[in-house]
């Protein structure tokens, strides 16, 4: 029976997070005034994002992705490759390449399971030559973002249930599968496979990993 390795993205394979991508788009608005106001507003919201993320990842998503309201789909797609080249690629941990390489040699399918947007994650998936990816998708109406995410929203337990369904559909043995994440919010995703690994973990995940005797890996 086949198996797969499931990777979270932000903080696990690279240093960046959702806010970096949004800030890049905010900084590159059409018009200087628009860029300045968007950036100022983004920076001012960081404490709110942090508080929301500590409380609940779903709440964070609701608040955070609302910021995309009114963004043009064309513009986001236009900036995606540039965002990858200038922000995301340099922030990929060197160890991430080695980890994926070893994992691929083991015959594992390489799958990204991330709360990042499809537009943002696309170039990275191609760069790392991953086999599959599941991401979040912004809702667009008449080419403009509504600030809402299309379901299923990839976060916390949804990632785990997506992995379960994916494994069933693809005939994967979850006991043989690996998953990698840096965040306590991904505990369900780590718990659903036979070989969970905490990567660059935050304090809460580190303690949980120690209690469960999971490997703790530092790719930084």
């Amino acid at each position: 029976m086949e198996a797969a390795a499931f990777y979270d993205l932000d903080g696990t394979l690279c240093r960046t997070n959702l806010v970096h991508a949004f800030a890049y788009n905010a900084r590159n608005q059409q018009g200087l005034w628009r860029s300045v106001t968007r950036m100022t507003s983004t920076v001012a919201s960081i404490p709110l994002f942090l508080a929301a993320d500590m409380f609940n990842r779903r709440l964070f998503n609701d608040i955070f992705f609302r910021r995309y309201r009114g963004e043009s789909e064309d513009r986001l797609r236009y900036l995606a490759q540039e965002l990858f080249d200038t922000v995301i690629q340099p922030s990929i941990y060197p160890g991430a390449y080695q980890l994926i390489d070893k994992s691929r040699r083991l015959g594992l399918r390489q799958v990204l399971v991330t709360g990042a947007l499809d537009i943002t994650a696309g170039p990275l998936v191609r760069h790392l030559e991953l086999d599959d990816a599941v991401t979040n998708h912004l809702e667009f109406v008449d080419g403009k973002a509504t600030g809402r995410l299309l379901p299923p929203v990839m976060a916390a337990a949804t990632k785990a249930s997506w992995i379960r369904v994916y494994a069933e559909k693809e005939g994967l043995n979850l006991t043989e599968c690996y998953s990698y994440s840096d965040s306590m919010s991904d505990l369900p995703m780590l718990s659903v496979v036979g070989h969970p690994t905490a990567v660059n973990p935050d304090f809460r995940l580190r303690n949980t990993a120690l209690q469960h005797d999971w490997p703790i890996l530092d790719l930084r």
Binding site: L99, K102, Y178, D213, L217
Partner: protein, 541 residues
């Protein structure tokens, strides 16, 4: 005014003994000090019990630096080192890792002494393309602080990190296949070493199985090369690991070493040390209790009282702070075989004690340290490898325990693991051992999975974790002891599940363990206690 006459201190009491190293317990014998992890027990052993002590340390060389220089200038089967050097050549120096010696020695470490002399020589001959590699094989990477302590600040500052680093057996670009032996055994070696004009190996021999061809063929190799000899069938084909002539492990490593010699120019510098594991104020720990002075007894009681009051972690930290004042007793250089032959002979001179006959019951005190848990925890797998792997095999001729006898290991057997150093051990112990303890089944069913686990590989490469396959090798290492002993009892076990998972019996105390062992082998059973540490090996007649 009358002075009160001082009461004389109690002096040594003569006891029945074959020689200074083999003592029999009688009705007047003092209790024996028994290491049980980080605790010290004071045990009254049954009358007639034979206690085997280590030999006193051989006097160290007065001038180790001079001995090293003499060895470099008068090598065996090789040109002197200076004659092999020329400006512009590429040289790699490989050094033994932190697993040797045990516990780590006081500074300056012997490796530092040798390195300073060798580096001066290289510099004087215009050799500046020099790398120093810690030959850690599949062991954990040494930390920067550990490397600095080992090589000294001067060398560390000059070479680290670009030219002084740990070997990486999982670096896809860092290993080179040298080919296969005539028995189809692969040999893959560190690229930098293979592509060097000269490799200088700096070794410390603690026990006879260290050094020789093992230095390069194992220290700088990868998993594919190690699994050739770290396997259940190889271990079972060994009659002890310490006598090279009777060890299949050594035979296979020599085959790989010969292939290394065909492709690489290796200059071996081997040293060996005495067994001066303890010095004041803990010198008494290595001595015969019947000959303790009152001051020794006081020191022991004080130490025992202190240890009893401390938590386990504090006890461990305390012992980790006590390095051993080992001294160099021999140094030879040149080709692997003649050099190692002389070094092994010196090691036997230090460690071998003549013992008449085997015993029905043998007691092994298991201390807090093994080659694989320096600055860390002796977990249950390592406890197993110390008892059934190393100590059982510390013999020449035949084991101290008769086949089918009862083996008593003194250790609390805590279910405690170091997550940074031994991550794969945890899964091995909790997931695999409850399913099977059969070494061959474990090898065929799970070894590859652990060895290829990407998380374990990256933890080995980027962190300080032992390779994913290492707990398997440790388990195989104990296979001889497991097959030989009729029963293993963990005396003083603090829990029931560790001995149960290991397949051992447990007892609350050593006295109870001896009673259990007697009920297994018979009431008139002969008993021997090997008084470790320091290291002693039995030359069983």
């Amino acid at each position: 005014m009358n002075k009160r006459e001082a009461k004389p201190l109690r002096g040594p009491v003569p006891r029945h003994k074959e020689d200074d190293q083999v003592v029999y317990i009688d009705s007047n014998s003092a209790p024996r000090i028994v290491f049980s992890g980080t605790e010290l027990l004071s045990e009254d052993l049954p009358i007639g019990t034979r206690v085997v002590y280590a030999k006193p340390p051989i006097e160290g060389l007065a001038n180790p630096g001079a001995a090293v220089r003499y060895a470099l200038n008068h090598p065996l089967d090789s040109d002197p080192l200076y004659a092999q050097l020329s400006p512009g050549m590429r040289v790699t120096i490989a050094v033994d890792d932190i697993s040797l010696p045990l516990p780590p020695m006081t500074t300056p470490d012997i490796r530092q002494i040798v390195l300073e002399i060798v580096l001066d020589l290289l510099d004087a001959n215009g050799v500046d393309d020099v790398h120093i590699i810690v030959a850690n094989s599949l062991h954990r990477r040494m930390t920067d602080a550990e490397i600095k302590r080992m090589v000294g600040k001067k060398i560390f500052d000059a070479f680290h990190p670009d030219r002084l680093y740990n070997h990486d057996a999982e670096d896809p670009d860092g290993m080179v296949p040298l080919g296969k032996t005539d028995h189809n055994e692969p040999v893959n070696i560190n690229r930098r070493a293979v592509e060097s004009d000269l490799v200088i190996y700096v070794n410390i021999n603690l026990v006879p199985m260290d050094g020789g061809h093992k230095s390069v063929a194992v220290g700088l190799c990868d998993y594919e090369s190690v699994r050739v000899h770290h396997s259940p069938d190889t271990i079972l084909a060994c009659d002890g690991y310490m006598d090279p002539a009777r060890s299949m492990l050594n035979t296979k490593i020599v085959r790989q070493g010969r292939l290394v010699d065909q492709h690489m120019n290796v200059f071996h510098i081997e040293t060996t040390i005495n067994n001066r594991m303890f010095a004041n104020p803990t010198k008494f720990l290595g001595e015969n209790e019947d000959e303790f002075s009152e001051v020794d007894r006081l020191k022991f009681e004080g130490l025992r009282w202190t240890l009893a009051k401390l938590p386990e972690t504090a006890r461990r930290k305390m012992f980790e702070q006590i390095p051993s004042p080992y001294q160099m007793i021999a140094c030879h250089a040149g080709k692997a075989d003649p050099v190692h032959e002389r070094i092994v002979a010196k090691g036997f001179e230090q460690y071998m004690v003549k013992v008449k006959g085997q015993s029905d019951i043998v007691i092994f005190p298991i201390p807090y340290v093994s080659p694989y848990n320096i600055n860390s925890i002796l977990n249950p797998i390592l406890l197993q490898v110390m008892g059934l792997g190393y100590f059982h095999n510390f013999y020449r001729g035949k084991p101290v325990l008769r086949k089918g006898g009862a083996l008593i290991l003194c250790h609390p057997g805590y279910d405690e693991f170091d997550h940074a150093f031994h991550p794969s051990y945890i899964e091995f112990f909790h997931r695999l051992l409850p399913e099977t303890r059969d070494a061959t089944t474990l090898q065929h069913k799970y070894e590859e999975e652990f060895a290829r686990n990407p998380s374990y590989i990256e933890m080995y490469r980027r962190g300080n974790a032992y390779h994913g396959a290492h707990p398997f090798f440790m388990w195989y290492w104990g296979e001889n002891g497991r097959q030989h002993a009729g029963k293993v009892i963990l005396a003083g076990a603090k829990n029931a599940h560790v001995p149960a998972i290991m397949g051992w019996d447990r007892s609350e105390s050593l006295t109870e363990a001896i009673a259990m062992a007697r009920s297994f082998v018979g009431p008139s059973a002969s008993i021997t206690m090997m008084k470790w540490p320091p290291i002693v090996m039995a030359d069983v007649e």
